[in-house]
Symmetry: C2
Subunit: 230 residues, 2 copies
């Protein structure tokens, strides 16, 4: 495991939150294993979530009619993306494993993390149709979505009011990571940490540390519709 | 229809884009019907997508450990949310119909629109568990997701590489709008406008104008898991 590289993309405003602790646990455990760990602390970085003209340095490919997808694809080719995006792409490029740590907002990522996906995973860098899924440019990497929920576990079941949590994972795991060729490990979910005791929250941290000890032996999930909707 | 109020939440950087034209078509057609139409042009407003301490004016409920959900709930109660959020909440409160107009980014909304959801639909304003779904605070309102895709229609079918487009609609329609009590009209989807002829793009605009003529007679979809995953 020595020399394996991990990028943790972390989105929580409060270092003392459970998300903050889960991030710290991952940094400690993976470092102890000899991995080299990098954290993108999105709120601390005041990461820009908006996809705008500012992401392109210099002249536009077509200034008459701004098309974000076309412009960032062309800018990527000539090394003309904004420095914050290039910085994140370097981290992704070097990583063997991407961990996304966040609180679930509206059955999805917080906007600041969605912005990371929108701006960093540029065409030409992460994919280029038909080079997607098994031939996506980020193949040979792993991703893991680690998040907390507001509701209890039973709310996120097939019969629960929020539906099976796997439904919510489809756009994130399949639509983004799998599309770029990344293999997806089973998600790590802490259900309703705000409604449980301090003791139970500690157990959540221990369970995460425990899982990380054997993480590199895990097989990716079969990221097909059956996994999500069967 | 005279006096009905419509809020269009619009997320595209380029006024000359198809999304821009779809927004204009909606403004024109609904105004012609006698509706009063308001547009939140998120990129033009430089709308802030990040959920931070800046959303709370004055002192925090618990400055020792920042919990965004708790802080904005408490700030809402005392009228202490930031002015840009209050402004959007007023528009939502007055609207009979919310139209979300955007290009699909990664099987979801662009981050700037996700940020609108994250920051505007505050607990106490839009919902307060167990007041959700049929008893959500935004009941008696309608919502419609109108968006463009990069891929063709066949890519977004059950057997297609991106899966049934309805899978992607679950977090947005059910997870957000339905949760707040809003009734959801069928989505309006323009598939792959960048891969079709100028003539076909014009037809897309005409089809949208045509649909809007009888929009108020439409029945909401049955926003249950069956609609999405059957």
């Amino acid at each position: 495991l020595l020399g394996r590289k991990v990028l943790i993309v972390y989105a929580h405003q409060e270092p003392k939150s459970l998300n903050g602790s889960l991030k710290n646990v991952a940094v400690e455990e993976l470092s102890k294993q000899g991995c080299s760990v990098t954290v993108s602390d999105l709120y601390a970085m005041q990461f820009e979530p908006r996809a705008t003209r500012n992401d392109i340095v210099g002249c536009l490919h077509n200034p008459e009619k701004f098309n974000y997808g076309v412009e960032v694809r062309e800018a990527y080719k000539r090394g003309g993306l904004s420095s914050d995006v290039i910085e994140e792409q370097k981290k992704v490029q070097e990583a063997d494993l991407l961990i996304f740590q966040f609180p679930l907002y509206w059955l999805s990522m917080p906007a600041i993390m969605k912005g990371w996906m929108d701006r960093v995973l540029v065409e030409g860098f992460a994919h280029q149709f038909p080079d997607c899924y098994s031939s996506g440019y980020l193949k040979n990497k792993l991703a893991l979505f680690s998040f907390t929920t507001g509701g209890s576990q039973e709310m996120y079941t097939k019969g629960g009011i929020s539906g099976d949590i796997r439904y919510a994972l489809w756009p994130m795991q399949h639509g983004i990571m799998h599309y770029c060729g990344v293999k997806v490990l089973a998600p790590h979910i802490c259900f309703g940490p705000e409604s449980v005791s301090e003791e139970e929250r500690k157990e959540m941290l221990l369970a995460w540390a425990q899982r990380l000890k054997t993480l590199w032996k895990e097989k990716p999930i079969d990221c097909s519709p059956e996994w999500y909707f069967k």
